[in-house]
Symmetry: D2
Subunit: 258 residues, 4 copies
């Protein structure tokens, strides 16, 4: 799909605030950025960088009320969807850079899910079948309810309270996959047809020598995702990390097909 | 110092177990490996790799009772100690690869310590002074007591229960530094003069353009450390990560000056 | 003081909902109810009871939108304030009915605070001095910030995040007192001069053979409290406990001197 | 059954320690104490009391190494077992003294299980059928594994890690029942045929106007229980609560049929 992204994030900072932003579409192999534009109002000096894997990050010191605008046109047509069958790798066959995604992280304490995951999904078949079983379980057992979780909620809490939003679905999916020795990570995205429009968080699993996007919420088609960043969990892919509290004034996100 | 490390780790695996080992001294700029030898009894095929930063990792599928032996002579004379003064960096001045160490992780939920850290250490002076204040606080407020923590204990729990071992002191030190916007990570090490001899976990902070080892436990001199690996917290630097439970039969570690 | 309480609580129930209400002033020895009136609109059958200690509780099955109105005039002039000195009891000298208030509860996990409490307050003097030290510590180290805690927040979390509202101040005060072997419980109250007007939660400690109200928030004078109920923590004294989620439509509380 | 209980608990106290003991069989309506003897070696002054419901408690200040011996013969033949069918009560029909057992407690945070309990057991039939469904679920989903839990483990953790001992099975059973609006409490007992012999913790639910013992572990028959004490959870029924840490030297429990 060819997608048009338009984002305006307005914050009020009470004093000079260090920020790290992850809101630009990634220059990753699975999508092509046709055009884009990132600006701040009032204008602010930004340090923009791209990592080797295509993730783009900006750093800036911001103060007062600032609107961050991002416009982009992205073609994600190269993206492949999870195949119908496929194996998970032995640890010894995984690329070195994939190994960290086997390990527990801030919001995905996969070490605590070992016994449950083995009991529930241990006999679910090959790697793809296990991932599909995890996605089905999360969809069937967790209610999507706005307001039941906070920025501190971990997958352990979602597992118990059985409710959350996309971030929580993703953390639980990741935790269960890691507990099954399947590398899994969190991806932030702009999602076509997501209602209401918002930043979206989905999971990505490593099988058959590649990463595959999967969405436990089933709220938006994986085909309509514009990838922003990936990391161990929400802590790594926050669209704005700040060194002190700030206030969100407005957040407008639009994704349309062109 | 020139140090001799001798390690024998014996495990009993009940079925083929995937393992990732981090027990070899790092080929890092702050130390030189003069000689070393890694073997398994009975012999097992290992995949040994070095990361660009010098960390060495082996991967193997192990079964039955296996002894992992490691012998090495290491000169750590190039290591610099934390200077008496020095500034912390603005986020925009940090190297890209240092940024992850600002973020919360499995055992270091630094996001939950923001208010305490600012209240307690916000006015402690420059970066070095703040780190020294954190180290002093941890030493003064946490009791070193074996048996009060487990492999699931986070810095949040140590902060409350006020007791732990080296791993817990390190997690709390890291959490507080990150909450002060100082990048901090966990380092595994062989430690000269540690009683009783064991793997040691210490913290490393980024100030003045470099990483510096610091030890909240004060149980062994930083000058006598042989670095093994570093990561966000204990999850990343476990000397043996396995995909199923196994039994520790014996663990012998000796570090002597040569 | 002679105080006039006027309360209107309006809820929307989506289906027949079992409720237990604790909103009437207690007929306790430290206050006299001069007049009172409890009604529901629309009218609903209530089962009203008084416990031997004076706590009044109503039970009702409610549905649709219901307004609970409570009007009362209360003279709390008999209440004594915490004396300047006084001892805590040996456990063997405590009345049997006081013993449960030594033990940890849902929101007051006092067992986890033992080491901290002993370190910080162990040498603070007699029982009253220790309670005053706890109250001072809570006031100095916790910020009163609306929105930082939820109905699931425990004293352990407040201790770490260092922010909360009256309920959180009270839970932390109780936890620390119990960790010092001083019986402590939670009390719900209507509070004169509380801004904004709301139900108030305060602590009560047992010293010198009696219970004494103390308020870690310092937001309203203890002299202006109309006692409602007491219990181990907020779980026991909720003004409305329901067997299914319901919606708060409006909550109006007024307390004035007559 | 007529049961003979013989208990010797030996502790080492490092300084005068306040203790509350709950090790005597209850003088409750469901059992008769034929003879009994409680002694300390060396002799220590104890304050022994019986509550109106038959629970017996002793309080003592102990120091040095002390052996607490308890011998009793108990006939529990009056005890009724959970009937095959039966309803749970409306809240308004419950006796006042049963209400606290609807509420969350230190180790049974039933408020966090609402959604799961309703989803899983909401349609399981009448009160007895729901309790049987809970007991079956706990038995099928939790592994009995010594060493996986500690004295601080809550039902929330057991629900996630899926392993524990009798205390954990009981806390989870209680939490799920309370989340279904069925009053539930913890009971300590001497259990005939428990292997290895130990204090046992089981649950008790209120249905059809009475309390019924139920055991999620299925390790010992309910018919062979000698009741000691009941409470909201393990915090209330610890066989020894102390105001400072002490060391267990030996613990011998024998239960035989006479």
């Amino acid at each position: 799909m060819k997608l048009r992204v338009s984002t305006t994030l307005t914050y009020r900072f009470s004093g000079p605030t260090q920020t790290i932003g992850l809101i630009q579409a990634a220059k990753s192999p699975d999508q092509t950025i046709l055009d884009e534009n990132l600006t701040c109002e009032p204008n602010a000096s930004q340090k923009c960088e791209a990592e080797p894997d295509g993730t783009r990050r900006f750093r800036a010191s911001l103060d007062g009320e600032v609107a961050i605008n991002y416009l982009a046109t992205v073609d994600n047509g190269q993206r492949q969807l999870l195949p119908a069958t496929g194996s998970q790798h032995l640890w010894s066959d995984l690329p070195l850079e994939v190994l960290p995604y086997l390990l527990p992280s801030r919001f995905c304490p996969s070490d605590r899910f070992q016994r449950f995951a083995q009991r529930e999904f241990g006999n679910a078949g090959d790697g793809v079948a296990r991932v599909m079983a995890v996605l089905g379980w999360v969809h069937d057992h967790i209610d999507y309810v706005v307001g039941t979780s906070t920025a501190e909620t971990t997958a352990a809490e979602t597992f118990m309270t059985r409710a959350g939003v996309c971030r929580d679905f993703t953390h639980l999916t990741i935790s269960l996959c890691r507990a099954l020795s399947i590398p899994a990570r969190a991806v932030s995205a702009y999602a076509f047809a997501l209602e209401p429009p918002d930043f979206h968080a989905i999971a990505e699993v490593y099988l058959e020598g590649a990463w595959w996007l999967v969405d436990g919420t089933r709220l938006a088609p994986v085909e309509g995702m514009v990838r922003i960043a990936h990391g161990r969990d929400a802590a790594d892919i926050a669209f704005l990390t700040t060194d002190r509290a700030c206030q969100v004034v407005a957040q407008i996100i639009e994704v349309s097909e062109t």
